[in-house]
Amino acid sequence: MGERRKPRFLENRLGIAGNIIPWVLMIRDNPERVAFVLHRLTGLLLIIYLPVHIFVTSMTVNPQKWEDFLLLEENPLAQFFLWILFGSIVFHGLNGIRLLLVEGLGKGIGKPEPPEPPYKPTSLSSTQRTWLYAVFAIWLVVWIVGGIILFREFGWF
């Protein structure tokens, strides 16, 4: 018989991968999770952009610098980034209102009634879910229509 070794246990935490890679973990009927990931990503993007934004607006004090900066806007990559940023703000703001209602005021998640078959969780089938679909719909429409206006302004078509 082989010598017994000291057992080692495996830390099996999913980490960031479990947050963003859909095939690491599958949860059915859970668009709230999609919104959670998007809210996080857009929040991070906005926070990274915040100092840039302050720096950029501070340039308006010096008209020459401002003119130089506006040249940057001719860069297609910068134009595309602007559109991504625009979408982020719209989603983060709209979903943020939903989260404030749900998380801060406990609205839209139903009441804790005694469960009945088929034991559907109330919070995932209450008004909150409707708000979520509305957030997705309004966001996509505003983002796409805004994109068309923006890119036309930029002379893409």
């Binding site: 495996l10 099996n12 935490r13 947050n19 469960p115 919070s123 995932l124």
Partner: protein, 315 residues
């Protein structure tokens, strides 16, 4: 091979891929088995058959086989599920992958360590806490709880501590100290209980950056729960309760008092049956004697009998 009602073969051979782990060598590998599945064959049935007929080294945990004990949580086709409540053919795939529940340390193969998980549950004090020390240490009677109050918490009482919500939670995945959906859902269950006075004590753990504020309502806990407990709802209600308390918009609930046998008549159960002892004085005499006998050893029971005596003699 027979054919069932909808024209599909009644039995089918399913390939089962199990993610195994050996704690002594630290080796982790996928192993494949084949089992015949028919309608009703659960993942747990398949694993037990593999263990009995093909490979006795395969380790898993189970107990009740009927979704009541919460021991058999696993990652089945990447979904946190109870093995005993998941049928192989329902999954609809030719290969079924089975892994240990994530976010729990793996001890061997499909067996995970629930130590942290249970500790977090204990941390929120999952029992009635009263302000009076005497009441906590020497409880002597049941507490008063109207049925509509029970209905407010009963959903959370169905928790079987299977840990599926904990495995599903994206925040538990990145924060080891986060109390997690099970414990927080139960924290809501206990602070909402009219018999409880432990809100302030529980806040020590709950009102913390690893507590209720860490939740971002991804809702995966509720989507994964096999019992319809809806921990996500509990957490949002708990958090909004804290928000309201902090803002002074709501006051703490008043807990109920210790019940006396007379108050327990809250539910209307219709008229009492006709007394079998026609002569009330006999019953009264008997109760008085019994109360006297019990005075020394069981004073509370004696008191209860006297309370009851009073109700029958006053009517």
């Amino acid at each position: 091979m027979g054919v069932n009602g909808n024209g599909r073969p009644a039995t089918r051979v399913v390939k089962i891929r199990v993610r195994r782990y050996d704690p002594e060598t630290g080796r982790r590998w996928w192993q494949e088995y084949r089992v015949e599945a028919k309608k009703g064959t659960t993942v747990l049935d398949a694993l037990l058959r593999i263990k009995a007929e093909q490979d006795h080294t395969l380790a898993m945990r189970y107990s009740c086989r009927m979704g009541a004990c919460g021991s058999c949580g696993m990652l089945i086709n990447k979904m946190p599920r109870l093995a005993c409540e998941t049928q192989l053919l329902d999954l609809g795939t030719d290969t079924v992958t089975i892994e240990p529940l994530p976010n729990f340390p793996v001890l061997r193969d499909l067996i995970t360590d629930f130590g942290d998980f249970f500790k977090k549950h204990r941390d929120i004090m999952p029992y009635i806490v009263r302000e009076s020390k005497k009441e906590n240490e020497e409880p002597y009677r049941e507490y008063y709880m109207p049925p509509d109050e029970l209905n407010k918490i009963i959903r959370f009482s169905y928790c079987i501590m299977c840990g599926l919500c904990y495995a599903a939670c994206p925040v538990v995945a990145i924060d080891k100290k986060f109390l997690g959906p099970q414990a927080l859902g139960q924290a809501y269950r206990w602070v909402t209980d009219v018999r409880d006075e432990g809100l302030r004590l529980r806040l020590e753990k709950v009102d913390d950056k690893h507590g209720v504020w860490r939740c971002h309502f991804a809702g995966s806990c509720s989507a994964a729960c096999p019992k319809g407990v809806d921990p996500a709802q509990g957490i949002q209600l708990l958090r909004s309760k804290l928000v309201a308390l902090t803002a002074g918009a709501r006051r703490e609930k008043k807990p109920t008092h210790v019940a006396t046998p007379t108050t327990v008549r809250y539910v209307d159960v219709g008229d009492a049956p006709k007394p079998t002892v026609e002569d009330k004085s006999l019953l009264v005499k008997h109760l008085e004697e019994t109360a006297q006998e019990l005075e020394q050893d069981l004073p509370y029971v004696a008191q209860a009998l006297r309370d009851y005596l009073r109700t029958i003699t006053s009517s």
